[in-house]
């Protein structure tokens, strides 16, 4: 039960596997349950399944391809179904006042607990940056004002001014633990909203870690995931450089960054996925729960009626105040 293959872009190791087909083009697989013999159909994007007749878990291991490498790591589920459901209910009731009332009353239906494929990205960043650094200084200036007797007086005051100096330099550092979704079913932003995962608890992938659970295969290509990783890396570098700048302030920070020694490794992350049907005429909303930490995120339907009512109420209050005070001012005149 050990898996050691890894997608290693730097070393350019490509798994064998004959002619490649696009992701999603593969056929579903028909297998026989090794416990009861029942015929099971396993979708091409699924790595593990459970026999509906005898509940035996089966793992389907396919030859790795460049876009579907074997998983390197897996983070196990910590939160069970009940804990995840409670977290979702709590999350729904804590939404803001402008969400639809039927959403707050709706009951979450569990779709599934799934091991979501994601890529763990790391690299060394090398940035050439330039910026204008603001260095503050104080000056004493004189000004003329009018005192309480109406006389013109000259006074002094200390003012803070900023002198901008240009700065160029180079910034190198490690970028680690960037996680991007490799599943088309879960947008990278949606995964980011339930991060972080405690990667100290991850384990090397073994089939036993996903047995009895649904595990997805990657449905995004490595190239797509690399682009997502680069986008996240650039945001992190921007924040790092902003913190790196000296001075009291800075402006016009620009950088040209090269990412090298890049590595990506496939990791399976535990996710509880809920469907929430709050109205018959609306499609169900997807809510995700981090299966390790219990963090929840999902779409929230806004009630435009509530917003219109709130705006009308504010306008009404303003109108009443205007009539009260405007009328009083008119009477006084």
């Amino acid at each position: 039960m050990s898996t050691s293959d890894q997608a290693n872009l730097n070393q350019g190791r490509q798994p064998p596997g004959g002619p490649q087909r696009e992701l999603g083009e593969e056929d579903a697989l028909s297998i026989a349950c090794q416990s009861c013999g029942a015929e099971l159909v396993v979708a091409s994007n699924i790595r593990s399944t459970v026999c509906p007749y005898c509940a035996s878990p089966s793992i389907v291991e396919r030859p790795p391809t460049p876009n579907r490498p074997d998983p390197t790591f897996v983070v196990g589920f910590v939160r069970d179904h009940q804990q995840a459901t409670n977290a979702v209910k709590e999350w729904i009731t804590s939404r803001h006042m402008f969400v639809r009332s039927d959403f707050k009353r709706a009951s979450p239906e569990l779709t599934r607990g799934v091991y979501l494929p994601a890529y763990l990205y790391s690299a060394i960043s090398d940035s050439q940056y330039s910026a204008e650094i603001g260095e503050n200084y104080t000056e004493t200036e004189t000004y003329t004002t009018t005192d309480s007797n109406g006389k013109s007086v000259t006074k002094t005051r200390t003012v803070t001014k900023t002198e901008y100096r240009s700065l160029q330099g180079r910034h190198e550092g490690y970028l680690i633990d960037i996680v991007v979704s490799a599943s088309r079913g879960v947008a990278n932003d949606a995964l980011g909203a339930i991060e972080p995962f405690d990667l100290r608890a991850m384990r090397r992938y073994e089939a036993g870690m996903i047995a009895g659970w649904i595990a997805e295969e990657p449905s995004r290509t490595v190239d797509e995931c690399m682009r997502l990783s680069h986008d996240e890396a650039m945001q992190i570098i921007q924040r790092k450089l902003q913190g790196f700048m000296p001075g009291d302030s800075h402006r016009n920070l620009r950088h040209r960054t090269n990412l090298h020694d890049e590595m990506v490794h496939l990791i399976l992350l535990p996710i509880w996925s809920f469907a929430l049907r709050y109205a018959d005429d609306q499609p169900p909303l997807k809510i995700l729960v981090n299966g390790q930490t219990g963090r929840v995120n999902g779409e929230v339907p806004i009630s435009y009626g509530k917003i219109a009512l709130a705006v009308a109420a504010v306008l009404l209050v303003v109108l009443i105040l205007f009539l009260l005070f405007g009328g009083a001012a008119g009477l006084a005149n």
């Binding site: 039960m1 878990p57 089966s58 790391s122 260095e135 700065l167 870690m209 047995a211 009895g212």
Partner: protein
């Protein structure tokens, strides 16, 4: 800390190095703690055809699945749990001990000498009146590391300043950290540990404690490996900032010193280092002194101040300044 002597080469327990930053990987590491690169795993035969697996309990033969309660694959019939390789984060353990080469008698003599040399602001009778209240040999713990760091830095300094007192500067340099000791002790303060560190001779390292009485205190590391690495990296960042401030940034005044590191070949060893902790009493008050267990000349501690002298001295200075001022203004 540069005068520490030879350090035995640090090796990882399984001897493997990170492919990206060349730092040792320890037993149980799934990734490099410095750069995040994945530790090599046992090679597995690459599949050429689709394989369907069902995992069975070796105890009762039932199919097993991942169980949340056990955080591992487990059999729901007989309760058997399959152990999987996981990130291990053990408590740090001492690898090497430096022996005491200073005896208790020498330590007591060093204390007397230290008390006698405490300077003008201390009570005149300090050395003669202070009474010895206890001595405890202690092995305190620390990490000794060596590494190479590519350091990118940015800072403000007074060099090149115009209207503002500060001007921005930036640069890059490579620093070699050779046998640097970072205290991990909870018993000694950083100031105490830093003061006695130069006396430690790493060439004398041995596998067990030696040179002290049997009831000597042996401090334990009380952090896990992951926390230890964070503390070592934080220490390297602090030392790098101090180093570039001393040698790279122009000027004499500095602020906003920021560094970014690319560390390579970080080797760390866990040491227990000898010290005497001595208590002495002066006028019913207890004071603590720490003496290096390998060099009795390195002593740090607290001593009372003479209230009379510390009050009289400022008054005398003020009077002298006033007299000088009067003298000059008279002429």
């Amino acid at each position: 800390m540069d005068n520490l002597q030879v350090t035995p080469e640090a090796n990882s327990e399984d001897g493997s190095l990170c492919a990206r930053c060349h730092s040792p990987l320890e037993q149980g590491d799934l990734r490099c703690a410095i750069c995040g690169e994945v530790a090599p795993a046992k090679e597995r035969a690459t599949l050429t055809t689709v394989v369907t697996k069902i995992l069975r309990c070796t105890g009762c033969g039932a199919a097993i699945g991942y169980d949340i309660k056990h955080q591992a694959p487990a059999c729901s019939f007989c309760g058997g749990v399959v152990e999987e390789e996981s990130v291990s984060d053990p408590m740090e353990q001492t690898e090497m001990f430096l022996p005491f080469t200073v005896t208790e008698q020498q330590a007591q003599r060093a204390l007397k000498q230290w008390l006698a040399n405490q300077g003008w602001s201390r009570p005149s009778d300090l050395a003669s009146t202070a009474t010895f209240a206890g001595l405890k040999p202690l092995w305190w713990v620390g990490w000794v590391f060596h590494a190479e760091a590519q350091v990118s830095w940015a800072a403000d300094s007074d060099a090149g300043s115009r209207r503002s007192s500060w001007a921005p500067h930036s640069g890059q340099t490579t620093l070699q950290f050779n046998r640097v000791l970072v205290s991990a002790s909870r018993g000694l303060t950083n100031q105490e540990a830093n003061a006695i560190t130069p006396g430690m001779n790493l060439q004398t390292a041995q596998s067990g404690p030696g040179g002290a009485r049997a009831d000597a205190i042996i401090e334990q590391f009380d952090v896990q490996r992951s926390q230890a690495r964070r503390e070592v990296i934080a220490a390297i960042e602090r030392l790098s900032a101090e180093s570039v401030q001393r040698t790279e940034i122009p000027g004499r005044k500095f602020r906003n010193v920021a560094v970014s590191l690319v560390l390579r070949g970080l080797h760390t060893q866990r040491y227990a280092l000898p010290a005497y902790v001595i208590a002495y009493r002066y006028k019913e008050q207890l004071y603590r002194v720490v003496i290096c267990g390998q060099d009795a000349k390195l002593v740090i501690g607290k001593a009372p101040r003479s209230l009379m002298k510390t009050v009289v001295l400022p008054i005398v200075i003020v009077i002298v300044i006033a007299l000088i001022f009067l003298l000059f203004s008279a002429f």
